[in-house]
Amino acid sequence: MIVLPVSWLLMPTRQRWKLFILAASYFFYGYWDWRFCLLIAGATVANQVLATAVFRAENERTKRAWLIAAVVGNLGMLAYFKYYGFFVSSAANTLHQLGIDFSPTIINVALPVGISFFTFQALSYVIDTYRGTFTPGRLIDFAVFLSFFPHVIAGPIVRPAEFIPQIDAAHDPRRVDASRAFFLITIGLFKKVVIANILATQIVDPVFSSPQQHSGLEVLVGIYAYAIQIYADFSGYTDIAIGISLLLGFRFPQNFDSPYTATSIQDFWRRWHMTLSRWLRDYLYIPLGGNQRGKWSTYRNLMLTMVLGGLWHGAAWTFVIWGAIHGSFLCGEHFRRARREAKGLPDPVDTRNRRIVSRLITFNVVCVAWVFFRAESLENAGNIFSQLLTPAHWFDASPLIGGMVLFAIAAGLAEQYIPRDAWARAMARFSHLTPLVQGTVLGVCLLIINTLGPRGVAPFIYFQF
């Protein structure tokens, strides 16, 4: 209620607007811990200096040296804050198993929120400059890009070429795309506060914390519920971020496109966390060689990209396995497609039944991988599968599968199967209502969200990454 009106007031004077939105973003980010502001400010200045050095370098060698410095610096910072404890304790444990007593002093490193997101965006800035697809601009523009509060914590991961030109573009306070913004924010709140929180508190957390205390049926529903929870949580955040950005006059790229309607794992990655997927594709998979250097090289690149994508989420073997499962299935799909092409066979006919079966298989593969993503440890994941696969436990009492849980799962799935044009029509109809009616409709939505959502909203899952 303060940032938006002041932002609109300053819209015509871009310099003042930039200073204001930068201050608001730092205030927002520093709310967690003011020291994090120093970190993001340091990262901003360092990357601006490096990008400018890359841009001004007179020969390829110097350019490349500056680029390497930027990549090492950014990844080094990420490794220190995110992976220090994991690497040191893993090294100590490995050495211990080899009979070498190594007891390192492990310092407590606080993980700055959103570090994985803003580090990747900073890398984009320098790499795009190196590739010549972007020209670094003023420091304040880059600072606004990196710290812009709607996306600094959990994305979407925006490219500099998508965002920075919008900063200086004309923003007309008489033409705010507010109806769409409110629509998205309301949908996002419903997904997070109602669907994700009901599933988290009523089934997912109990099942994953104590799988052996629950029936096989509860464990199965708990796994499906987690798939819906993480989608509702993350896509809900993204909807809210996109909505707030629209109110500030900015357009963000789409991050989700009904991922559980995917008919293959490759299709899933075109629909799930799309901005991370394209970042990994453009800055990791393709530089590794993509699929241009033979089939084994392609499989290696796919596996590496997905395993590193898993590690990006957190320093744990469970994330590595999650990435490896996705990588393996991508390799498998690639292998099948290549074999079909080699035999000169046509693509399979796209029938309704085939689509249903493909969706079911894809969804279940994704759910198996989600078990590792959510599990606290490999042992925990093993316990979940063990409980699931023990027939004796299947028909134990299942008190967690209640009406609200089934409602939340159904709502989370239905949201993805509603045709796009139906969403678009609803949004258009909403935008044609008078402001008073729009406000009343939104007020009623707030009633439903506030009343159905469990008291005490848990943080967004992706805040920890």
């Binding site: 938006l4 009106p5 609109w8 404890g85 304790s89 100590a92 007593d101 492990i106 490193v109 606080a110 306070p173 008489r174 033409r175 705010v176 507010a178 109806s179 409110f182 998205l184 109990p206 914390s209 104590s210 052996q212 205390q213 996109i242 629209l246 357009r251 963000f252 789409q254 991050n255 990655w269 799309m274 997927s277 394209r278 594709r281 998979y285 699929n291 241009q292 392609t298 690149n301 990588g327 606290e376 609200m404 678009a424 949004m427 258009a428 935008s431 044609h432 402001p435 008073l436 406000g439 009343t440 939104l442 007020g443 009623v444 939505c445 009633l447 439903i448 506030n450 009343t451 008291r455």
Partner: protein, 385 residues
């Protein structure tokens, strides 16, 4: 991951997808939408807002919020605008969510001059298992889950449900969550032999509700907090449930621990000592520290490997940390109850409870001297060496 030959389409801008003509609007109209939505939403959610206002951190902002929320609630109730919310709560099975209960019980048990020591140990067996409940603030969750996971391995401990963990709650602010009222209801039907409770980490603030006083750690505050702790202990134990109260563990914020939680732990410990055989204070710091004391995020785990026991916030537990706490609680239970004799059946009638008088080593031996001492003076509850 998509192949380079056939790249997926670059994600479109959100507003461009299936984008039929929509009305944009001027900021004045945007403000009208926002204000209307907030006003309608506030009136329809007034009872919930009132509860939220009561739960704000103490200070003038809370006073203002409570004043406005009270007026809003009056209007909403008068115009029957709160009815839809009540109806949805009934449908969702959450009636009474908006109630604000400020009552807090006082201790009901006078100091017992004839303390029986050691207290009798109740025996449990697989046919008569010890029914366990776990509750408390956010620090109860991970250790509670560990305890529930470890319980079946004992053969005699039967968890009665999930961990009843309530984030940001304690005894300081009953308007946020009233633990005595909740436990009174939860334990009403009996059926719980042992309750493991973790409270205190959110209580380092002025006390509100019945008997509320401030400032934090003043003599008046100590008296009132002691009353609340003792009252809750009696409420639980009067229902035939043994209470295992886990003290607030070391935190990365040493100053906060040393100046506040150490003092509060001493209150809980001394109140537990007044109720021998009924309340056991479980000090988990010895198992959560290394080299004689203090906070530690990593500890040598099984096989001397390094394991992370506390999360990055310096407060909560990882699974490994939860397991350590759970094992400490199980040890205390083993010293309080007879959980082993069923393995070597005595000659008594099978299945009937057997009372023994084995000495407990975890529960501190009560003495008249220690009862009622102020925590700052006991000198017994500092960092455990």
């Amino acid at each position: 991951m998509p192949a380079t030959k056939k790249l997926p389409p670059t994600p479109q801008h959100a507003h461009e997808i299936d984008d039929p003509a929509r009305h944009t609007m001027a900021v004045g109209r945007v403000l009208i939408v926002m204000v209307t939505a907030l006003l309608v939403g506030a009136l329809l959610n007034a009872p919930g807002l009132r509860k939220t206002a009561f739960g704000q951190p103490l200070g003038w902002q809370r006073d203002v919020a409570v004043f406005i929320a009270d007026r809003l609630n009056d209007v909403s109730t008068t115009l029957l605008l709160s009815e839809p919310r009540a109806g949805i709560q009934v449908l969702a099975g959450r009636s009474g969510d908006d109630n604000v209960d400020l009552s807090l019980p006082s201790p009901t048990r006078p100091a017992d001059p004839d303390i029986v020591w050691p207290p009798p140990k109740i025996a449990f067996s697989p046919t008569k298992p010890m029914r366990l409940a776990v509750a408390g603030d956010s620090l109860s969750v991970t250790p509670g889950e560990s305890l529930i996971n470890l319980a079946p391995g004992t053969g005699v401990i039967l968890p009665t449900g999930e961990v009843d963990g309530r984030i940001s709650t304690g005894l300081a602010r009953p308007e946020i969550f009233n633990w005595p009222a909740h436990l009174n209801e939860k334990l009403a039907g009996g059926g719980v032999d042992a309750l493991v409770l973790t409270l205190g980490s959110n209580d380092d603030q002025a006390l509100t509700g019945e008997g509320g006083v401030g400032p934090l750690l003043s003599p008046e505050w100590e008296t009132e907090y002691r009353r609340r702790v003792g009252g809750l202990m009696d409420l639980v134990t009067n229902k035939g449930t043994k209470l295992f109260w886990i003290g607030v563990p070391f935190m990365s914020n040493n100053e906060r621990y040393d100046t506040r939680y150490q003092f509060m732990n001493a209150i809980v410990r001394s109140e537990a000592e007044k109720r021998p055989g009924k309340v056991v204070y479980v000090d988990t710091n010895p198992v959560l520290s290394i080299f004689g004391g203090g906070y530690s995020q990593y500890l040598p785990g099984p096989d001397n490997t390094f394991v992370q026991v506390r999360t990055g916030d310096g407060i909560h537990f990882t699974r490994a940390g939860g397991d350590l706490v759970a094992n400490a609680v199980l040890k205390a239970m083993g010293e309080t109850f007879d959980l082993e004799s069923w393995k070597n059946p005595p000659t008594t009638k099978a299945g009937s409870p057997v009372t023994t008088t084995t000495t407990s080593t975890t529960s501190p031996k009560p003495t008249r001297k220690s009862a009622g001492k102020t925590p700052g003076k006991t000198g017994k509850s500092g960092k455990n060496k």
